[in-house]
Amino acid sequence: MHHTFDIGGKPHAIWLSRSPEGYRLALAEGGSAAVSLAQTRGGEGRLIVDGSSEPIAYVVEGDTVHIHLRGRSYAVRYVDPLVALAVEADAAGHHVARAPMPGVVVSVKAVVGERVVAGTVVAVIESMKLETAIRAAQDGIVEKIHVRAGESFDRDAALVTLCMEGI
């Protein structure tokens, strides 16, 4: 299973492996190159690909590395297969927030068409005398709200569907 990186919305499947010379970067669609990063000081260094060297500046921010190379900037985001593939079960590019237990909807916080970021509370439910906030697992746009305040639901019921396309 290759690692997937997102650059400008486009996924790239690659694999980095050890080699006698250091590391080799292989592309899923074929082709590979010897790569290394000679670090001159924090955040700046030289990227060496198959022997040719380029100055590079980079900042690591969580799963994203911001790179400045040859006068251009790139945001390279690591796509965790555990997250990316889990989402695939829902319709492609969609994520459904589901009820962790049976209960009653206290309030719906999201509005259809609203942009939310991961962690935004989309609904509050009550179950077993406890109020639980249901949060967006990913950044997205609220596409559909399946329940209304006061409505009861079963475990795993769909509460809010997010669309990840166009963000």
Binding site: M1, S17, A28, S32, P81, L85, D90
Partner: protein
Amino acid sequence: MQRVSSLIDTRDGDYVANDLHNRRLASELRERQKVARHVRPERDRERLRRQNKMFVRDRIEALLDPGTPFLELSTLAGNMAYDGEVPGAAQVTGIGIVSGKEVIVHADDASVKGGAWYPLSVKKIVRALDIAIENRLPVVHLCDSAGGFLPLQAEFFADRYFAGRIFRNQSILSKMGVPQVAVVMGHCTAGGAYIPALSDYNVIVRGTGAIFLGGPPLVKAATGEEVTVEELGGADMHTSVSGTADYAASSELHAIAIARDIVERFRQPEKAGVDWIEPEPPAYDPEQLYGIIPRDPRVQFDMREVIARMVDGSRFHEYQPRYGQSLICGFARMHGYQIGILANNGVLFNDSSLKGAHFIQLCDKNRTPLLFLQNITGFMVGREYERRGITKDGAKLIMAVAGASVPKFTVVCNGSYGAGTYGMSGRAFDPRFMFSWPQSQVSVMGAEQAAGVLTDVKLRQLARSGQQLSEQETAAIRDPVLEDYRRQSSAYYATSEIWDDGILDPVDTRNAIGISLSAALNAPIASPHYGVFRM
């Protein structure tokens, strides 16, 4: 260490003819492997697509680290059984790298008879788990089996090494602290249900994966209860209600990603302390093996020429080069690991047997794994040799082979006959891995000799009752015996019956042994200790 200086002339007529012959054998092997791996009836492929399942080879590819080697074992298991309809015995097993860790992969092949377990499937799974135990390798099971093939249940159910052994081996692995992950990608019914249940970790695919002791039809028949697959043993029930499964996955790829994440956390055991230096490729081209192995298996050849095309830098430190010359012993390196090699250059005499037993003890004492290169017609027979104690000298060699604590590896390069098979670490002597070359033959004696003995016995029986047979009638007795014997002593038969771990293209031997060595060193090596040598 000195380089072997090769005496091979690549322009020689025999060399050229051998080269042609052995390349043909190698390409035939590759073709048969390709068919066993990939060729399936379209309806079986179609059924997998309809069920939204990946083909077993694609599952394994997704599981393994890209660009890393996968040493597949017993690819041609079952190739001469069940009318050839169960390629690979409906199982894929091998050693691969998952999240940087060496593991045994065991996968049911649902494109063959729904992944049903035939007797040889069970043998192949048990063997894979034996390898895991002997070499302390974690196991990833990719489960998708319709269950045991019931018409043949007498041949895989009750005996010591039959299906129960799979679950016994799983339990022993757990007891040893060697972790297993099972990914449930189809139905795991009856016995098969215990594979995920006995794994330390398991992942189940929502929709297609299910675990139950009795499937819905059996439940209906037994108790009248009507229940769906999902309710009875689906991912959500098992991960949230019964606790039989640990992680629910939304697709096969998601399940594989979870399994990879689990394996990543496994602790890599410290490798047993064996001498290792930077590897170096052989100085002689391994492809020259094709020209060296005689096209007629009865023709003798010098195993030093084979060793020179297998070991690091073609360097070989020969031990006792002037004594017991029909058994070559010596040290070399394979992918950097020091190994002791025992290779046959003729029949085993008293001196060669003693030399072998001595060399094995030497290697055991200095913690050097052993590689046996078999081309052995047996121990020498005759009055003179018996008087010198050939039987007790052979017993010494067998005692040493059986008792050695260091890992052993065996390659059947050409012939492997009679007690020679035993003295040279045959299957019964638990080499960690055992491979065969395409033209090799294993049997209690050569086909011609065996047919001769059997015909002779028959002729004498008839002679006692005053009958005599014409040349033609004798041939009628001898030829079918010969035919049968040849078939059953071929490498393809041996691998079909899982007497080895697979047939190798000779040029791949170096890499296969390298991977096997690395895997074997996951297990600590016990101190040398032996039984009684008859002096």
